[in-house]
Symmetry: C2
């Protein structure tokens, strides 16, 4: 009964949408767990494909815009340094990352959020610090092993219709939650878009709605 | 000789591009002078028309994007509260603000940056706290008087080809400086886009390039 009441009163997790190929989402992925922990929260991650979401929001990849795209490359590097997160721009960028995302959803269903989050960290760090190409099956298999998982099971998962469908579902659900870019967060119903909303999220969690 | 040397060594002003109709630029307009003063800097403002700049960057007004536009309305209000800047969403938004911008450039040339900056503050506060329509000639004249200026001279200025050309020149120069949105800042050659880059600008001014 006490346990039940505690669960009812437990603060909701911070929801966090990301694409494995989003630099700003990678930076946020490096600070979100510590921020959540400071406020007694957990993080619920959602892997999505911005390539499936952008057209619905009349948007395209940031770096493909003239003028703004050039600025973005500079701002991404500076924003990583600002958060003291190691970052090297990958040569292959942006990438289609559906296989990495399917592995995420397979792990989420099969082994839980903690293992799925560990996979997200391993894969994004490999891409954004060592430039490892997440589109390449061999690279993905090696990273799966690095994350302490089974490479054959992971490859089977990314080829399985079930996890393809799960990712499609995640993209659709994301748009319903107002997601149009990454990182995107929801804290107790309040949406925050961007690595640069960290300070607002911190105040929201500290003081409540402002 | 000493005066000359001091001038040579004086830190460069923070350059600040804004559109009278940009909510995020209005919020930044409320903190930029204090930030500059904390670091012994001045602010050099540039009034531009985003309507003239967006097409060159393959962009359009933020609130006209599906999904992202809805988020933006919420984020603008929250960002104003975060910076403790009074803000009420104007009913008429966005507005074409060429007349306000021409008055700015006339003042800049005729009476100097300080008066031009005072005009920017007066007009943007009227628009973003009281919803006063900056497109309306009568409203503009009344605001010019509120700013301690001559209404007839201001109206003559916004109709004069010289100040129309000056604004066009400002838009062209802005694009050459990489401007694709507002607020946009340059500090010692480093570009910062967005009200949300305040913390990065503060660190840049405190510690130097990072």
């Amino acid at each position: 009964m006490t346990v039940y009441r505690e669960r009812m009163n437990a603060p909701k997790p911070i929801e966090f949408w990301f694409d494995f190929s989003s630099p700003y989402a990678y930076i946020a992925n490096e600070w979100i767990d510590a921020l959540a922990a400071r406020h007694g929260r957990t993080v619920q991650r959602h892997a999505v494909l911005l390539g499936a979401i952008f057209p619905q929001a009349d948007l395209k990849p940031l770096v493909s815009y003239p003028i703004k795209g050039e600025y973005a490359r500079r701002d991404i590097l500076r924003s990583a340094r600002f958060e003291r997160v190691p970052f090297t721009f990958p040569e292959a960028f942006p990438l289609p990352t559906q296989n990495a995302a399917r592995v995420f959803w397979w792990l989420d269903a099969d082994q839980g959020q903690t293992r799925a989050a560990q996979w997200a960290r391993t894969a994004m760090r490999a891409y954004f610090t060592r430039g490892e190409n997440l589109k390449d099956a061999g690279v993905l298999r090696a990273l799966v092993v690095e994350a302490g998982l089974d490479a054959d099971a992971a490859e089977a998962a990314w080829n399985e219709p079930r996890w393809k469908d799960r990712l499609r579902q995640a993209n659709d659900d994301a748009v319903k939650c107002g997601v149009f870019g990454a990182p995107y967060f929801i804290i107790d119903g309040e949406p925050f878009w961007g690595n640069d909303r960290k300070a607002q999220m911190e105040r929201w969690l500290t003081e409540g709605p402002f």
